[in-house]
């Protein structure tokens, strides 16, 4: 009999421990209006879905030391993967995601995110105006995350084997057959549309993400003609760096991350924004509505928004910080980098790029005849890749 009682006690203790484990993390964040009003004690862990290069040891290690929040990050290769990762297992498996504009709205309207209290992130007040309430993360005055960094998608070229290109036309030119690498990503259709908006004005493309069927078909036609010229549709960042390192490719649509990786590896590579302009992204750290470590998440928001970490990430990855105080610190890390990434006056630069966003049937002008993103994906896999 004694054994039995002890056994029951053990069960009770285990249950209490389980309930305790579930309740304790939420104590620090007292909820009244749905928004936390203070940041409590860290939960000891933080799980992130991030772009490759966003959770480098250079700034993650000091964060872990400062806060005791052990960071575990999973890299996602595309916005689609980010959306799906944040929803796996009903959500809650990951606390935060570094979402770009083409994923953020899907997550907001999908109910996957918790609103953020910007009052708990003092650095937010030093952000340039464009990044305090951008449409990619702020809906009807509610903030779903804190802006992080932004930048362009670049045209990468091998400086020994290619002349400096001035136009995106080089990646559609039959002369360059077998040298070109393109992201295996449906959002690439917007790059084709941006190019067409300048080279075929009669199509009347004003926004590369809001395309009527005719404009969309023209972009797909251009990409289908490009298909035989392509060496490889790359899946991950390291795929493309390999291709440029071993000389299999000398021209490609790319991200600044690959450029900085290749330059570190002393590869003869440079990147340009051609005369047609470029697509780009504004990334936001967003918090899952089912996050298990909300206190560590707020600590992370504060940490990555601070001028020092903003400058460090900007110079490492090759992008522009949203915090206005990061510029002088960037120059300290790498001379002239503030001007290179236009971190001194980013508002005008920000407006010159066409940011990733989710294509919708709603064209933004009252009409509902645009091609939605699901059709982009189908067209990309069935027509372009074939």
């Amino acid at each position: 009999m004694r054994k039995r009682i002890r056994g029951r006690h053990l069960v009770l203790v285990a249950l209490a421990a389980l309930v305790g484990a579930l309740v304790v993390p939420s104590i620090g964040v007292s909820k009244s209006t749905g928004l936390p009003t203070s940041i409590g004690k860290g939960e000891g862990a933080l799980t992130l879905v991030a772009w490759q290069g966003y959770t480098e040891a250079a700034w993650v290690k000091p964060f872990e030391k400062q806060t005791g929040c052990k960071v575990s990050a999973k890299y996602a290769a595309s916005s689609d993967e980010m959306v799906s990762l944040m929803r796996t297992g009903g959500g809650g498996q990951y606390d935060m995601v570094s979402a770009s504009g083409d994923a953020s709205l899907r997550l907001i309207y999908g109910g996957d995110l918790a609103p953020a209290n910007v009052k708990l992130v003092p650095a937010w007040h030093n952000f340039f105006a464009a990044f305090k309430n951008p449409a990619t993360n702020t809906v009807k005055g509610v903030h779903y995350g804190i802006s992080l960094q932004f930048g362009p998608n670049l045209l990468l070229y091998n400086t020994k084997k290619e002349k400096k290109p001035t136009s995106w036309s080089v990646i559609y030119d039959a002369k360059n057959k077998g040298k070109i690498t393109i992201p295996n990503n449906p959002i690439q259709i917007a790059d084709a549309a941006l190019y067409l908006s300048k080279t075929q004005p009669s199509l009347g493309i004003t926004d590369p993400y809001e395309l009527t069927q005719t404009q969309f078909d023209a972009a797909i036609k251009l990409l289908k003609a490009q298909h035989p010229l392509v060496k490889k549709y790359w899946g991950t960042a390291s795929d493309q760096t390999d291709l440029f390192k071993n000389g299999a490719s000398t021209l490609g649509a790319s991200w600044p991350y690959m450029l900085s990786q290749l330059l570190t590896a002393k590869a003869p590579v440079a990147g340009v924004i051609p005369k047609e302009g470029a697509t780009g992204w504004l990334d936001t750290w967003m918090l899952s509505s089912k996050a298990k470590h909300p206190n560590c998440a707020y600590k992370w928001w504060n940490y990555v928004s601070s001028p020092k970490v903003q400058a460090l990430q900007a110079t490492t990855y090759g992008e522009t910080p949203v915090n206005s105080k990061a510029c002088p610190l960037m120059d300290k890390l790498s001379k002239g980098s503030c001007a290179v990434y236009k971190a001194n006056a980013p508002d005008a630069y920000y407006r010159s790029l066409k940011y990733w966003k989710t294509p919708l049937t709603d064209c933004g002008n009252g009409k509902k005849d645009c091609v939605p993103y699901t059709k982009w994906v189908t067209a990309w896999t069935s027509q372009v890749l074939g």
């Binding site: 689609d80 959306v83 799906s84 899907r106 999908g110 392509v230 390999d242 299999a248 994906v377």
Partner: protein, 297 residues
């Protein structure tokens, strides 16, 4: 368990009942493994097939549970999906045939000619690659086939023209053949080892040429082994999506890669597409059963 051997009690009466009714005992023994099989394998497959009849929300990409045949309609009527299916079957067939052509002489040598020590060494050598991660093996082929990789280095030393095979269907075929080869060698070896030596002697006594013996005796007896191996090489190629993304070219979209690129955004369509390899494999298994493949598994 801690209470020791009890003379009466629920356990005891249960065991008495099982002794009196043997069918109940059998049922009790079969339910746990069968239950696990049904829940883990069958239920997952059924859930997958059901998902194929649903659709997705165009904006948030969440699954909408509205029934319809739209996905299957798209599957049949989109030319690209037919191309992808045919391409996948062709590559899987090419890989299977190549593996068989390489495996039969290799297995014959192991089973019939090699002295015992060499036989063990060869057997270990053929399954050795399986001890290394799949990804490592695929990446190592990337290093070999790179423009400045081992292959071109060797060709340059031999004064032969440089090749650029990486990122093409040829590379895919090479890599798949290499990766699935052990799965072909082992069943073929098992089949050939069972061929009685007296058959070969009888054939020779009757004046048959070595080639005739191989064609009329050895090969027919190896067929069940080849069929068993081909089930592995064929089905594994049919479902793979990693090798196409790592060494495949611009025309290397296979069934697996199509499912992979759709499952995040359009889960129902990916589920519908996954019915295609299931159907192909079911048909393939029926044919292979006729060839006696299941005797060698």
């Amino acid at each position: 368990m801690t209470e020791g051997p009890a003379r009466s009690g629920p356990l005891r009466s249960l065991s008495r009942l099982a002794w009196r009714r043997p069918w109940l005992k059998a049922l009790g023994q079969l339910v746990p493994p069968l239950g696990a099989f049904v829940v883990v394998y069958v239920a997952a497959l059924v859930a997958l097939l059901i998902t194929g009849f649903w659709t997705t929300d165009e904006f948030t990409n969440e699954v909408v549970r509205v029934w319809g045949l739209g996905n299957f309609h798209d599957l049949i009527h989109t030319p690209a999906w037919r191309t992808v299916t045919v391409r996948t079957v062709l590559i899987a067939s090419a890989v299977t045939v190549t593996c068989a052509v390489l495996a039969v002489p290799y297995a014959y040598f192991m089973a019939r000619i090699a002295p015992p020590r060499l036989r063990v060494a060869l057997l270990v050598a053929s399954i050795l690659p399986l001890w290394v991660s799949y990804l490592v093996r695929v990446y190592s082929w990337r290093l070999i086939l790179n423009p400045d990789g081992a292959l071109n280095w060797a060709l340059a030393k031999l004064h032969l023209p440089q090749q650029s095979i990486l990122y093409s269907n040829t590379a895919l075929w090479l890599v798949f053949t290499y990766i699935w080869f052990p799965f072909m060698v082992l069943p073929v070896y098992a089949a050939l080892e069972r061929v009685p030596g007296s058959y070969l002697e009888a054939s020779a006594d009757l004046g048959a040429h070595a080639m005739t013996t191989f064609r009329r005796i050895v090969f027919p007896l190896a067929i069940p082994g080849i069929a068993a191996g081909s089930i592995f090489t064929f089905s594994l190629t049919l479902g793979d999506y990693i090798a196409p993304s790592l060494v495949g070219g611009t025309n290397s979209q296979l069934i697996g890669s199509t499912i992979y690129s759709n499952f995040q955004l359009n889960l129902p369509f990916a589920a519908a597409f996954s019915a295609v390899p299931l159907v192909i494999m079911a048909a393939y298994l029926v044919v292979m059963k006729r060839l006696g493949a299941f005797e060698n598994l």
